[in-house]
């Protein structure tokens, strides 16, 4: 189970870094979104292997539940990540309106 998570994290980080290093604002936006996912899964993986454990809805003490703290942190992280992504989308929209280009070189040279 953890092996799969590790692989997903690796692929997500690679693709997001590749996109962020592009010269066009749209791939950069996509890369940013993927980077968000990568970081989220990384954080969640810290709660350990969930195999054979229950969701952290406690009905009976003594049973084996997954760690609730990473999940709680992640809940915050997802929402904040969305806020930042939304801001980025509008920012890029404004940049596009001002420069009528999505190419970073054009935007710089304007």
């Amino acid at each position: 189970m953890t092996t799969i998570t590790i692989l997903i994290v690796g692929v997500l980080f690679s693709t997001s870094v590749y996109l962020i290093l592009q010269r066009n604002i749209i791939p950069i936006l996509f890369g940013f979104s993927l980077l968000n996912h990568a970081a989220n899964i990384f954080l969640l993986a810290v709660s350990g292997d969930p195999t054979g454990k229950k969701a952290p809805i406690v009905t009976l003490l003594g049973e084996s539940y997954v760690d609730p703290l990473p999940q709680a942190l992640l809940l915050t992280a997802i929402v904040i990540g969305f806020g930042v992504t939304a801001y980025l989308i509008v920012l890029l929209y404004r940049i596009y309106l001002s420069h009528s280009s999505t190419n970073i070189e054009d935007i710089y040279n304007d």
């Binding site: 799969i4 994290v9 690796g10 010269r23 899964i41 609730p68 703290l69 999940q71 970073i104």
Partner: protein, 783 residues
Amino acid sequence: MAIESLLLIAVFLPLFIAPVVGFFARSLSLNVAWIGIGTAITSASLIGRIIKLTKGLPFVISYNWVPAFDLQLSFLVDGLSLFFGLVITCIGAFVLFYARFYMSLKDENGRFFAYLMLFMFAMLGTVFSNHLLLTFLFWELTGVASFLLIGFLYNKPESQKGSLMALIVTGTTGLVMLLGILLAKSVFGTYDLSLLIAQRDSLVVVGALPTAVMALMLVGAFGKSAQFPFHFWLPNAMAAPTPVSSYLHSAAMVKLGIFLTARLFPIFSHNPYWGDIIVTVGFITMLIGAVYSILSHDLKAILAYTTVSQLGFLMGVYGLGHMQLLEHDFFHILNHVFYKASLFMVAGIVIHIVGTKDIRKMGGLFRIAPFAGMATLFACMAMAGLPGTMGFISKELMLETLLHNAQSHGGIAWVWVGTIIMSAICLFATSLRFFKTLFMGTVPLDLKDSLHAPGLWIQLPPLVLASCLIIFGLNPELLGHALAGLTVSGMHAIKMSHLALWHGLTTPFLLSLTISGLGVGLYTLFERKHWQMEIPKQLRFDTAFNNGLEGLATLSKRLHSWLRLDQSQDYLGIVISYIVLMSSGFILYYLPLSTIRFDWIRLEHIPATVIGFVICVFSIAVVTQKKWTTRLIALSVVGFFISFYFVIYRAPDLALTQMLIESVSLILMLLLLSKIPKGMAIKEEASVYTGAKKRVVLLISVLSGFVMMIVLWFLLSDPPATKLGDYFIDKTNSLAGGSNAVNTVVVDFRGFDTMGEISVLVIATLGILGLLMRWQGPTEESK
């Protein structure tokens, strides 16, 4: 009142008045100067009271300031500091009075007078401080205040250049002085000046280290007092308003170097190099200043060079004193303070009347400004050293000392006699020229219409100051008696020779006659050539200095353009690859191989494997697909499948939130992309990397993914024995009254985090609103 409180008030009053002056300038306009004058007079009278109370005996006031640095707020009250304190405050009062009528309503007077008060405070602090580090602090504060004052008219290029030059030269030499101070602490074991002076007989000042201390500190003094080779900053500082020139650059700040030399005299005068260094530097400066003064034609530059010359002379006084103790050094200083301050004030008045600085275009102003003319006559007489003025006595005393030295030592001492005679001839010619060209003869034709008489009040301060030259020149004992109360033991001779107007027909007097004759001759010679000579370009140190500065700027520009990348994306690549390199190095070094565990994929992992496979494939599709729409769909698929993956991790809340947010993000991105026309796709093609650059980017991204995998792998191989999460599972029902531990953590246990999260959302919303609203703004305006 006790001496302590008197002194503290005298020193710190200008500091507290500075903001007051700045504040009231709006309502009081130029009259705010009266507050400053009142302050200066108060400080001066307090210092006068201290003189009466201490009767010339040294007195130390000490408070702990930063004990960790061995720094004390320590003040030394003795003849030297009291004398300089009086000069600073009294001349300050005159200058403020002058500035009241000199500045115009258009100037930022609050700023100007506040700077002047700040400067006065820094000066008083420097002369009274007993702790070498404190001296340095105040010393640099005078430099900062002078920078602000020289650059007061900050949009004039010469002000910018001049203030920067003054700051760099005096600041750098000040730092050299700091080196000397720190070395002094390790050599002599104390920063305390009064201790050093008290122990001067047992102190070892001969040898390599003490000589280094002395030389380093003297560099600071030479820089501040514009001694050769630092003399060039002073003429450039003349870009300041004239009251500033009159105060800082003749009476007060440039005297700080002289002050420091005087302060160090009791300590270092036994060092064999003391006299040689100071006399050589001082007399070279004296000659250069005098020669340059006669070659300049800018009114203020002439005065600046005569100041340089006179400062060299004053330095020389302290250098020559090492063979016996000093006599009448204060008399020399006062002579210069009186005549130079008044000449600068006159120069300000004259430049104001005629509207030019070129002395060759002036003349016949006596009728228009008779009092300024009288002041100039007295001051020029003193500068030329004519009998009946303080200048005469000062020059006679110096000649006498020099001749005495030359007769007993011979050799190089005769060179110094020659130097002072040559400088005196040049200064005589300059004085003659200054007075004759400005006030005698006829008014040049092109000026006749534009002249307007200056007010009476503005002519008063120079006249009063210049009259002192005559009063004390005719009755030198008057001043000698007053100054006798300010002697410093170890510095001044216990019994001074009497000052007298007439010494008889002595060699110095005969020399004086010769100097006057030759001075008139030099003046006539230059007059015939119509003053066409200029200071040779090669000998103008300021141009060399400016070229050096520009060279440095060019060098740094070249270095910058060599290192600079044009695009932020390239920086980002460098930063990311740096992180990858650093962390992989770290990982390789600390690789905990023993704890590494590999978790094989088993049968029950099949759902997770399928979901993970989909996530990986579609995230790669986001990279490889050409069309934006396809990419966006792939991205969405990744997002939704991640919410499935959350389900596998037994996180129902996360899965729900992720679904919701993924949908909203998709809508937002669609909105953005729908605005971008299809034709842009062609342009997008141009921004795709090709060739080597593509491979480099690929390598960086694969490596960074790999590093993150390894980090996570180590993290999961060695989980901690107890987790904080167990506590929340335990207490979720009993403490928070909810069975969903994730929810209770979010709202109860870590409620403040959630509050922060909401704030971030609010801020993001406000930012988005701002971005969108600002876009609408300009279009409405343009309607």
